[in-house]
Amino acid sequence: MMISQLFVLSQRGDNIVFRDYRAEVPKGSTETFFRKVKFWKEDGNAEAPPIFNVDGVNYFHVKVVGLYFVATTRVNVSPSLVLELLQRIARVIKDYLGVLNEDSFRKNFLLVYELLDEVIDFGYVQTTSTEVLKSYVFNEPILIAPARLQPIDPAAIFTQGAKRMPGTAVTKSVLANDPGGRRREEIFVDIIEKISVTFSSNGYILTSEIDGTIQMKSYLSGNPEIRLALNEDLNIGRGGGGVSVYDYRSSSGSGVILDDCNFHESVRLDSFDSDRTLSLVPPDGEFPVMNYRMTQEFRPPFHVNTLIEEAGRLKAEVIIKIRAEFPSDIIANTIAVQMPLPNYTCRASFELEHDAVGQKTDFKESSKMLEWSLKKIVGGAEHTLRAKLTFSQEFHGNITKEAGPVSMTFTIPMYNVSKLQVKYLQIAKKSSSYNPYRWVRYVTQANSYVARI
């Protein structure tokens, strides 16, 4: 597991930090890397894969907030290890800077160097624990005021398809104190679920999956032990695996059945089998307590109905209807609907409902993409979009084969489809006056939400 170099490049290819641990890779590796990624052409892939080899040097990279975190080595190492490490380094840096973006990175590059020096020595990983690293960091973070951030939280960009999400808008450095020099005692627990659903053209669910994470970020002093209690009717193992067998009650739909899950190394499972309780001493910084995967049937939060019909020789009409299938006290936000239109579409005119608020439509000519965005949707509501298309040439054959599928992205705070719950969060600290803030938040996001037409 020897890493030769580690560097972070901006979107334009500038070095932000650069550390060479073993002096085995020739100079110019940052340029080589950047050129290769920028102009990737091999085997018809539009995007460079995270790992490639140029002249005997292996380049690994992950993209986080538009920055490239890159490691190089000549050794035949474990690819997972390096990619996992790069992702972890990004997270540790975020823990220290509070906010991770190019600006904060440039302002704090010395602190980042301090971290990189301790994380890796001579190519071998030493530690990635935010807590352990604290004693080696002497630079004070130069913080960026969260007010300057855009409304769409950077944390969302940070995660890029991973499961962390806007709810984790905790932009406080692990080193920072609140005004007045006091640390606020608080702990955040987020249950984040990314859902993937594919609907067939006649509205049936073809595949569905929930990828969930229980994420924790603790600002508690004195490292108290924490107990998290989950649903008692939680079952793990489905369709083989044989860890725990089917419970007959669950087939009636009452239980939560996870296909599989894994845990952070700090988690102890001593009483998990008997009462579904996780105990841990949370380390500093943000980390996933538990990741889980579920294919048990659930009610998809949105129902999508799409119709495309010919309307004359060079015209067609598209009707998209979405219905929110969750309770009316829940509100989904930042909803975006996309649909590729036939290649020969040259114009699209839209018609929204007459009382539509906070809705926008667009036709992206270059990619032939219909886009419909909604600020929010209240549970139970239904919205419709009509679009009239004009074609530049006559179509032949089946128009439904030329368009679609419809895909959706959304965020639904305080709602989770799996019904997995944190029943209680207990902090073991013997003091009656000690009552830290506990935030338990749920959120559901679309990962791949697709309706075929």
């Binding site: 035949n76 190492v77 474990s78 010395l110 995967r293």
Partner: protein, 842 residues
Amino acid sequence: MAPPAASQRYPSPSQPSGKSEVTDLKSQLRQLAGSRAPGVDDSKRDLFKKVISYMTIGIDVSSVFGEMVMCSATSDIVLKKMCYLYVGNYAKGNPDLSLLTINFLQRDCKDQDPMIRGLALRSLCSLRVPNLVEYLVGPLGSGLKDNNSYVRTIAVTGVLKLYHISASTCIDADFPATLKSLMLHDSDAQVVANCLSALQEIWSLEASHSEEACREKESLLSKPVIYYFLNRIKEFNEWAQCLILELAVKYVPSDSNDIFDIMNLLEDRLQHANGAVVLATVKVFLQLTLSMTDVHQQVYERIKSPLLTLVSSGSPEQSYAILSHLHLLVVRAPFIFASDYKHFYCQYNEPSYVKKLKLEMLTAIANESNTYEIVTELCEYAANVDIAIARESIRAVGKIALQQYDVNAIVDRLLQFLAMEKDYVTAETLVLVKDLLRKYPQWSHDCISVVGGISSKNIQEPKAKSALIWMLGEYAQDMSDAPYVLENLIENWEEEHSAEVRLHLLTAAMKCFFKRPPETQRALGIALAAGMADFHQDVHDRALFYYRVLQYDVHVAERVVSPPKQAVSVFADTQSSEIKDRIFDEFNSLSVIYQKPSYMFTDKEHRGPFEFSDEIGNIPITPEASSDIVPQQFEANDKDLLLSTDEKDDNRGLSTTGSAYTAPSYDNSNISSQMQELAISGPATPATTQQSSFDFDDIFGLGLSTAPAPALTPSPPLLKLNPRAALDPGAFQQKWRQLPISLTQDCSVNPQGIAALTVPQSLIKHMQSHSIHCIASGGQSPNFKFFFFAQKESEPSSNYLTECVINSSSAKAQIKVKADEQSTSQAFATVFETALSEFGMP
């Protein structure tokens, strides 16, 4: 640290060129150097920060080295750290100035604060200046004994750094022995982990010239050491756990209890959230159970779920790494994953490198029970916005069609693709239909009716065009307008840029001519004329060859160019199972990502922890005269095969007879059909062209004079072999693994030879008399396998390795030749074949 040189960057207005700024910095630093004024540390910090930031973006600031060192006398730790960073970066280029730093670094190594001791020691060892090593030994020695664990972890890695600067200094100071004792007794897990990585590296490098290091390296794999680590694996952080798991992979368990003990110890590692820990554990499980078929299969079942969870819980990059490993497992044991096919459906927002892997996996696991669903899903992707993925999807459908028995429905879908009238869809589909017809000629009727409707004008891609032309030639009798379509294409010969297409046009015109002579005569004439005038060598040669064959005898020409074909049963696999096994052995490494064994992309010293010791790996070889040690090895190999990729091959190959080894099996039908298609056929060489060609030229209206007789092919120079060649079995194995097969050839063995083969030794003796030496042999009637080697007499470094499989019931032999000097392998094969043909002759 060595940032890219400034010269390699483009000058940009936003980036200072550096010169004047650096001079500025220099004088400012100088002013501060002696100052003890209050607040001086803050000013220093600002200046240091500037220096480091220039260094990062690639400006050479080595000229302020002296000033930096002068300013380093400070108790401010932030300043110290910046200074260390700077010094570490430039010391190598400034060995003389580096001497200046030794003083303050050595002093810091004795500081009261363990943090400073550690940092100073790390910097001291990172100077990489060979003539300063004498200053390292003392501080390292005390660092290893420091009562603070942070200092000890740094000292341990420092020993490794010293080894790389001066191996002899490190060994002479007896540091490896100290590390070994620390590894087994230190209370701090990270100290122990660093000892392990340092010792692995040092002993691996020393092992090549020191027997003692070899023994020490082996001792890391002894049972007590392995259990010492495994029993306390949870005390280590996740990265060190990976290190330990990698060590455990190489451990050879004593019995099945041992195996189960280890698996029970590691079972909960499969629930770890870190994919690297899980994959390392998976590798241990897979390797341990290789010889236990049932358990091995259970392992597959057990690891499936955790791996799938990791795929969906990480970033796309992490998913990709895990998915590549799942891909390997799926291809090895498709039936285990057959019911999980939905997990490999593509999600619309995935990067294309993930989608591509998933498509390959779907292709691999398609079987009778899930084909319908998988193909339906793939057909959805064929209309995908991402054209590259759409193409891959169509190819995947085609591959599934080629591996299934019931292709009925799939053919229908492929034909529907053609109806979509998208250029790239049509192009991909045509190529597939062609392959499908080669395997299932019975479908020609349905396909041809649809293909016939496609206008050749709409097809631009050479591969697709070639496919269409091939079908026109092959099924000329079923496609009424075939001659005219071909004629049209031939008339546009000049505009056809692809030589591949022109080659196909020639062949198709020939085939069409044999079936429908009057209609094609004109077109063929034009094609041959254009072909012989073609600037492309292959096109020219083929045209000339056709021309001469036709001249010689039209019937012979037909037999050569358009013989009745046998359906292709299996298309040649691009990767041999030997290579696939190699990649499997290198699980949890880049080999899996690149789908290549490490020797193909890494130089030897960098193969890292996966380097093979020279134990017998995949090639089953019975060393001569000690055939009794074999069974164990082969048993493992046989069982392994239960999960190996090419199950189909098992039934067909030579390995089903229950003989001790598993010979890789071959399928020649594909090659031979291609040979036929290319019409390169020995006996038809037109040696005597003239007499039978009556007024042949007139038929085609070619006013050509008879072409000059082909020059005789120069006979290969005679190959002289060294009668006393020597090669030890280890070297043979290594070469066998590394060299590509340069030649595969079938030959027959005469009946006397078969009779003599009842004593396999006789063949070995016989070949030896031809200077071809046997290194290993095995098998029993009717299948025998021999490994031979020979050396060129003039150059002992030029070896020929041969695997010879003889089936005594069919009196056939197949030889595979690997050669250092590939250009001469044909000559060697000739020598070999001649020698073999004389076997049994009096």
